[in-house]
Structures are given as C-alpha cells and as structure tokens.
Amino acid sequence: MLLVGVPVLGLFGILEAGRSLAAPPSVSGDWTVEFDSAANCAGLARLRQPALTISQSGTEARITLNDGRATTLEASINESSLTAKSLTAAITGKAAQRVLEGKVELDGCGPVAFRAVRQAPAKKRGE
C-alpha cells in the first residue's frame, strides 16, 4: 500500500506543479501568407498558398516553403518569436487564432514584410 500509495500521491503533486509550466507556442500546420503589397520579386511569385508548412518539436521547428522546390528552413521558437536563417516573425494570438507577423528573405528579394494565418489551428490536447 505504502509502495504504491505514496508515489501516486506524489504524481498528483507533480501534475499540480506542472500546471504552472509554459510550453512554447504551437505553430505547427499550414499557413496562408499575405505579403507586403509593394513587394514584387521572383521568389514571391513562385509561392503558392498555403505558402508555409511548419512542423514543430518543442522549441525547434522546420519551415517548408510551398515554392515548388519545398525549400526548408530550420527555425527556433523563443517565447513569442520564430527565428530562422532568413525569416523572423512574432507569434501572436491564442492557439486557435495564431498569427505570424515578420519579415522573410526569399530568392532575389530583399526582406519582405508578411502576415501569416494558420489554416487548421491545433486543438488543445490533454486536458
């Protein structure tokens, strides 16, 4: 009883302590991107919507551009920002209406401002 009961009580304590932990914001999924209307270059013309697909593992993410060549960028997530070699974005909004706002450098383009909205928002799991 002691060998099983005490650890089970401990588990409840762990679950309670874990409630206050914050995980990185979820950015996995397909993203529809709007670019600054003034920008006009070859890199942008190649993109098809959803322009970004992001797969995430905790604080690390892989961004795949829908540019016909499936260009991938390794990215890191830090509290509320997404940073890759040629992309930086602020992550805003709640999980269901998450938005990325930032700048991206594509082939033949200078930094272009963009705003991305997730197509299929991730649902809250595990509650």
């Binding site: 995980a23 690390e60 595990g126």
Partner: protein, 421 residues
C-alpha cells in the same frame, strides 16, 4: 492513388531488411524482434534517408506511406489479439503477493519518474497545444510499459520460461500489460475527448458498458469455440473467420468509442478461453502471418517516423540520456526492489527487474498512438523510440550476467528432479 508496384516493392524491401537484420541480431544473442525493430529504423531517415536521400525518397515517398500504415495497423490489430490471447490469469494466481506487488510498483515507480521528467521536458519538447497533464501522463505510461511478447520470447529462447523467476516475470508482465493498457486507454480518452465528436460521458459510459458486455456476455459464448476445437482437433475456416470478425468488431467498437482500435483487439484476446491446446492452435494460426509479414511493416512505418540524430541539436542527446536513465531506474530499479521486498532472492529480483525493463514492440505501439493523437512531438517520439531500443537491447546481456546459463541449467535440473520425486 495506390501505386501497387511501389507498395509491393516497399513490402519486399522491408521483409528482406527485417529478416537479414533479425538474423544478424540473433547471432549476437538478441531476439529476432530486436533486429526487426532496428531494421525499421535503418530504413527511415535515421540511416537510409541520411546516406541515400534520393533512394529513400524514391522508395518511401510520403504520399505512399498511408497504405503502408493501413497494412501495419491491420497487423497490429491481429497482433494485439494474439497478445491478449497469450495472457493467462492463472499465472498470476500462482505467485499472488509477489506478482501483484512487483507489477504494481513496476508501473507506479516509472510512471512517477516519468512525471518528474515531464516537468523538465515539457517546456522544451512540447508546445501549448498539449497540456502538461496529457504530456506527463503519457510519458509516465510510456515509461511503465513492459513488452510481454518480447519478454516471453527472451525467456523462451534462454530456456527460462518454466524457471521460478521466468514464471514470476510472465505473471508480472501480464498484470503490467493489462494495467498499462487500461491506463493508456484512459489517457487516450482524456486527450481525445476535448475535440471528439461525442461528449466525454458517452465515451466513459460507453467504455464501461463495452467492457461489461465483453466480460459478462460475449465471454460466455466463447467456450463454444473451444468445444468445437476439442471435438475436431481443429477449427473450420468459417469459425476462424468468425473469430477474425469478432476481433474486428471489438476493435471497431473501441475505435468508435474514442479509445483506440488496439484496445478492442487486446480485450477480445484476453477474454478468449485459455486451454493450452486452443490458445496454441489460434496462436499458430494467427502468429505466423502477423509476425513474419505485418509486424515488420509496422517497424518500418515506425522507423520512417523516427529521426534519431537527424537535424537535432546536441541537447537532444542530453534529453535522450535523461529519458533512458529515468526509464531504467524506474522500471528496473522499481521492479527489483519490490520483488526483493516481497521476499524474492536478490539474484531473482535483479533478473526480474531486467526482464520487466524490456519495452520492445509494445513501447513502439504506444508511441505511435501518442504521435497520432498529437500528445508527443516528433522529437519526443524519436527519443522514446531510442529508449525502447536501448532498454530492449540491454536485456539479454544483463540477464546473462546476472543469471548465467550454468546457474540456470542447475536450477532447471533441480526443478526436474523435484518433479520426478
């Protein structure tokens, strides 16, 4: 669209890899299944996709994997039925107190340590679409599982199946399996319920009604199958087909309830009559196709989802080391101490801990469920697969060290002498 040529080619490549690597692992005293698991990993991005990315992309394009997955899931449904079928509650009665204590501690200890590890890993390897509760409970459940079929195979290959420690290990693993799958079913319901089409109470009440129906109604009709086997010494194709339909119906019921296909298949196997001749006949009927053909597909599908050491930072190796140490400490240490407290000699207690630490195939099944329902990330999945491989690989050499073959032979001779007397 289905590319039949590609699918058949994939199956052929997987089977060849599984048999070759399995054979090589047998040469180093590892169970065949360990080699098959490693073969699956080698066919994925961890090796083939790394050294020959174009060949990997041509052989396993992402669009083709859904067919491979479908086949492997069918194989798993049959396999889980076989696992349930091989469970025998009588084995538990023989060892009563020691088996119950050891198996419960061997679940609770790694479960709690898994929870503590979740406190560290959740902010690093999860995201805010998964709650801490779901992540921690899943990690705990995944750490506490024992691979009943692999354990039985290791015991059988080493001739330990009928030794004192072997029967105790089988009894503990049987309890672990049932408890572990019940806990996992609860976690899956918990995780799925927030975005399921039906309310939580329907899933909960439906699950209770389903289990009640299976145990108190369906189970009463199953001895008729055993009688048919006893009368003719075999089962007709129609009866075998009926058993398959029952397994599928049970699997569909649990899937519809929002638990998982595999729980239904497992329960159907668990409530089957347990006479030696009947279970051996069914195991023989179902096991060969599943083990030889369908399980390697599951290992390959798992391997294709696993990215050991690919694109990960150095921190991933640190997290892997932590998970492996915690898993071994909780399972091996917990089982060993509990068995010792229940009066088992030190050598047997240590051997029991080593055997209970075997996670193998069952761990992969659970991890795939976790990745499918989104409670663990790709990186966490890969880390846990690595842990499953390490804990399974270490079983045989550790067991040989603690329980050398010479000692084992002497014990078995003594048992034989007692039986004759």
């Amino acid at each position: 669209m289905l590319n039949l040529f590609q699918l058949v080619l994939q199956i052929a490549v997987i089977l060849v890899a599984a048999r070759v690597v399995g054979f090589l692992f047998q040469k180093i005293n590892q169970p065949q299944v360990m080699g098959e698991m490693v073969a699956g990993i080698l066919l994925g991005p961890s090796l083939l996709g790394w050294v020959a990315p174009s060949m990997s992309a041509a052989l396993f394009p992402p669009a083709s994997l859904s067919y491979l997955n479908a086949l492997s899931q069918v194989g798993l449904v049959v396999f889980m039925f076989v696992v349930g079928l091989a469970l025998n509650p009588r084995e538990l009665h023989e060892y009563g107190h020691a088996a119950v204590l050891t198996s419960h501690v061997s679940i609770v200890a790694p479960f709690c340590l898994g929870g503590v590890t979740a406190l560290y890993l959740y902010p690093k390897l999860s995201d805010d679409s998964v709650t801490f509760t779901g992540f921690a409970l899943f990690l705990g459940a995944a750490m506490s599982i024992t691979a009943f079929p692999v354990l039985a195979r290791i015991l059988s290959e080493r001739g330990l199946l009928h030794s004192r420690m072997g029967t105790l290990a089988i009894a503990c693993a049987a309890v672990d399996d049932v408890t572990g799958w019940c806990i996992l079913a609860y976690i899956v319901v918990l995780v799925r319920v927030t975005h399921a089409a039906r309310p939580a109470w329907v899933t909960m009440a439906g699950s209770l009604v389903y289990v009640g129906l299976m145990v108190f109604v369906v189970r009463r009709f199953l001895p008729a199958l055993e009688r048919a086997h006893r009368q003719r010494g075999k089962l007709s194709d129609n009866i075998v087909a009926l058993i398959v339909v029952l397994v599928l119906a049970s699997a569909l019921a649990t899937e519809w309830l929002g638990i998982h296909l595999l729980f239904g298949a497992f329960l159907m196997g668990a409530i089957m009559p347990k006479s030696q001749e009947f279970t051996s006949y069914l195991l023989h009927k179902f096991e060969s196709v599943t083990v030889v053909l369908l399980l390697p597909l599951f290992f390959a599908f798992t391997g294709l989802r696993t990215r050991i050491g690919v694109g990960g930072s150095g921190a991933i190796w640190r997290y892997s080391a932590i998970v492996i140490v915690v898993a071994i400490t909780g399972k091996l240490g917990g089982s060993m101490l509990a068995a010792r407290l229940a009066g088992t000699p030190w050598r047997d207690a240590a051997s029991l801990g080593i055997l209970m630490n075997t996670r193998g195939l069952m761990e992969l099944v659970i991890l795939n469920i976790g990745l499918d329902i989104g409670v663990i990330s790709q990186t966490m999945f890969s880390i846990m697969v690595l842990m499953a491989l390490v804990t399974t690989f270490m079983t045989t050499p550790l067991l040989e060290w603690i329980y050398p073959s010479l000692l084992l032979r002497a014990e078995l001779e003594e048992i034989a002498r007692k039986n004759v007397a």
